[in-house]
């Protein structure tokens, strides 16, 4: 009995230390990425290529999801606001939810599962097939040539995708509320314009998605770079990217939101 508890505690401690160790390695990796970023700016084409793969190819999923989320918000919002006779505020509700929360968070979750997993799998497979090692032997740093461009591409794409997600969501809300249900068009837009503050709402949303972009790409590139060079290793790393990115996004969202609301009050 005593032995079993002791073993359980040992395993728990082992995992805890392992987790901290991993966070430490990731922080070190992040510093290395920043230090190796010269090539990315010097040869910006490398970054643009990755923006295409992680950003442009994520457009469909972001646009369609944004539209649906906005439409559902419109429906649910109308249902609730109707009880208070405030259906004209539907535009405010849709826009604020999207710009402050759903835009950055849902777009980041989608980005992590669409682009983050692809980045991890690609880098992991480059490691398995010794492409990274071959590059290193050619005196070309894989950090500068492969990792840093993907990192910066993610950081650039994420806020743009979040903004697009929010814009599509507002459009979806407009279709449901104004076109289908018949809320007054002028009230929809003018109330939204009056209530959404550029600095507190829009900029804070951009800051959030920027932070999420950094978190997702650091996790995705680190997991790929650190993956054991086997089929199983890469598959586990890909799963870990999606799971840790999702948890990190939600935890960071809580922290950022509380900081931003404190700043506002």
């Amino acid at each position: 009995m005593f032995d079993r508890i002791r073993r359980g505690l040992e395993t728990l401690g082992h995992r805890f230390i392992g987790g901290i160790w991993r966070v430490g390695s990731m922080a070190r990796f992040f510093t290395l990425v920043l230090a190796s970023s010269g090539t990315s700016f010097h040869r910006f084409r490398l970054v643009m290529r990755e923006v295409y793969f992680s950003g442009v190819l994520s457009l469909i999923i972001i646009i369609v999801s944004g539209l649906f989320v906005g439409m559902v918000l419109g429906l649910q919002g109308f249902e609730t606001l109707q009880k208070y006779g405030a259906t004209e505020s539907i535009g405010v509700l849709v826009a604020l939810s999207l710009v402050r929360e759903l835009g950055p968070v849902v777009a980041a979750l989608l980005f992590a599962s669409r682009a983050g997993s692809a980045i991890t799998a690609e880098i992991g497979l480059m490691k398995v097939t010794e492409q990274l090692s071959a590059m290193d032997m050619m005196a070309v740093s894989p950090m500068a040539r492969v990792i840093a461009p993907r990192f910066w591409a993610g950081v650039i794409s994420m806020p743009l995708l979040a903004a697009l997600f929010a814009a599509m969501g507002v459009f979806g809300g407009y279709i449901v509320a104004v076109v289908l249900i018949g809320v007054d068009n002028g009230a929809f837009w003018s109330q939204m314009q009056a209530a959404v503050d550029f600095r507190y709402d829009v900029l804070n949303g951009v800051v959030k998605s920027f932070v999420f972009g950094i978190a997702i790409t650091v996790i995705a590139t680190f997991e790929g770079y650190d993956a054991p060079p086997t089929a199983e290793g890469v598959s586990r790393a890909t799963t870990r990217t999606v799971v840790s990115s999702a948890l990190t996004i939600l935890a960071l969202d809580l922290v950022l939101t509380s900081l931003m609301l404190r700043g506002e009050s």
Binding site: M126, S133, A134, M138, A139, V140, S141, R145
Partner: protein, 272 residues
Amino acid sequence: MPEDILVDVQSVSFSYDRSPVLKGIRMRVPRGKMVAIMGASGSGKTTLLRIIGGQLRPSAGGVYIAGHAVHELDSADLYRLRRRMSMLYQHGALFTDLTVYENVAFPLREQTKFGEAMIRDLVLMKLEAVGMRGAHRLMPAELSGGMARRVALARAVVLDPLLVMYDEPFAGLDPIALAVIGQLIRKLNDALGATSIVVSHDVVESLSIVDYLYFISEGVIVGEGTPDEIRRSPMPYVRQFVNGEIDGPVPFHYPARPYAVDVRLAPGGGHV
């Protein structure tokens, strides 16, 4: 007059997680020659290649290439030295997102400031040398194993390196592709005036192309000599390896407790 030694491996030892892989390896590779490092799978030969290339640091001893102490170089100096050497990987390690042409052009684009016309000439020249010029527009996924390795060979020599290292260049090839790669390696080595280190376990092919061979077993050198000396060698390990005998100095069984103990026919058991 002493021989001009390009690569000097001095008493190199290396351990992975405290288990020794290499134990005091000494090796000298003269300039312009082809040297093979042979041994069974897991004998430490690829590890030795990585130490020579500076990707791993020895726990004792050192590697000197053209007078540079590879094991002491910082990363900037190591990269400077690596511009004059190259490595051909077991499966080619071609960049899967680039065409054959771009793969061969990669070292030129990264390491030189050559114009596009110059790059094109050099790439096509090297592809012609390995017989793959006609495939320059293909993606690596469209090539067979042997063709991919020829393209990788063209990429490895595109900067006319001083030293080329080959990690199992013959593994997994059909007999024709194997002979082609073997001949190409020798031809390119002589034409470019390069020096080559070939890690392999293909005895027949290696004996036919290299100038000198080292045999590694369990992290130590157990035999060395020119191909003729190796063919006539009475050393038991070399005999076993060259003739492909199942049991000998390299045991058939993974180290284990006595069989009788494991099947509980003798005392000293417990759970396996």
